[in-house]
């Protein structure tokens, strides 16, 4: 997975900090530093039992928590099942897609 990176230069490069050349300063790309959501969306093929099992396998959820997320997907069309750093979020989305769930990444605005 792609690690978080910094940009050389950019707006902070105009800083007046003495002794630091502008092209040696870095800043964090805002969207990579943000919290990312793993969102699972409803579909009419995957079975409820299967979805609960997948949540337990992928996230290690207890059955009740997994079931709550499954019902949220079923009744509201989507559920945020995890949020955090982008790299981990990508990993989870990839695992969920291997199980054929409709999962995607979203960033917190």
């Amino acid at each position: 997975m792609k690690p978080s990176v910094g940009i050389v230069g950019g707006p902070l490069a105009a800083s007046t900090h003495p002794g630091i050349a502008p092209d040696q300063r870095t800043r964090t790309i805002p969207d990579l530093a943000a919290t990312w959501k793993v969102v699972v969306m409803n579909d009419d093929v995957n079975l409820m039992t299967y979805v609960v099992h997948v949540f337990r396998q992928v996230f290690g959820f207890e059955t009740e928590r997994a079931r709550r997320h499954m019902l949220e997907v079923h009744q509201q069309g989507r559920s945020i099942v995890w949020s955090g750093a982008r790299e981990a979020a990508e990993h989870y989305v990839h695992l969920l897609q291997q199980w054929h769930l409709r999962a995607q990444l979203e960033s917190h605005a």
Partner: protein, 168 residues
């Protein structure tokens, strides 16, 4: 394919559904068709929702798709090995847990394929079983029978893999 456990292993998942041989042959033909299509068209676009919208990197995009393909190929082989077994549907067939999970995932893949092809005109309620199946054209009846059979297989395997689900 993971090694097959001995039939007497307790607590191991078992493919234990019972159905007639013609249905197994039909299922085998459909699973083979989906598997062949996946192998022959590796660059085919992934199903809707397969990619996160915000992937910014072509290399990551390619690695992402390749990871999904590798998993799908492994899973399809596990399901194919089951459905071509002439004893499937007539006797209990023991599985390793990884094989049972692979079969469950591959069953979903085949059901998604059927949903997008033969069963695309059905609504969600009909897909769940609330329909007069005999009003469908024969080819759709066959697709529907396989769709339902794979759903039963999948659910039975999940309950064996995760017995706690039935208790809560």
């Amino acid at each position: 394919m993971p090694e097959q456990p001995a039939p007497s292993d307790p607590g191991r998942p078992v493919a234990r559904l019972r159905f007639s041989p013609p249905l197994r042959e039909l299922l085998s033909a459909i699973v083979t068709r989906v598997h062949t299509a996946a192998v022959e068209t590796p660059d085919a676009p992934p199903p809707p929702g397969a990619h996160p919208a915000q992937l910014p990197d072509p290399d990551l995009d390619a690695a992402w798709a390749e990871g999904l393909r590798e998993r799908e190929e492994f899973d399809n082989h596990a399901l194919l090995a089951l459905v071509v077994n002439p004893k499937f549907g007539l006797a209990d067939l023991p599985l390793t847990p990884p094989a049972a999970e692979a079969i469950a995932r591959a069953s979903v893949r085949v059901r998604l394929h059927l949903r997008q092809t033969l069963l695309r005109d059905l609504n969600s309620v009909e897909l769940d079983g609330d329909l007069d199946v005999f009003r469908l054209p024969p080819i759709e009846q066959q697709g529907y029978a396989c769709f339902r059979l794979l759903a039963h297989l999948e659910e039975d395997l999940i309950h064996q893999l995760d017995p706690g689900l039935a208790k809560s």
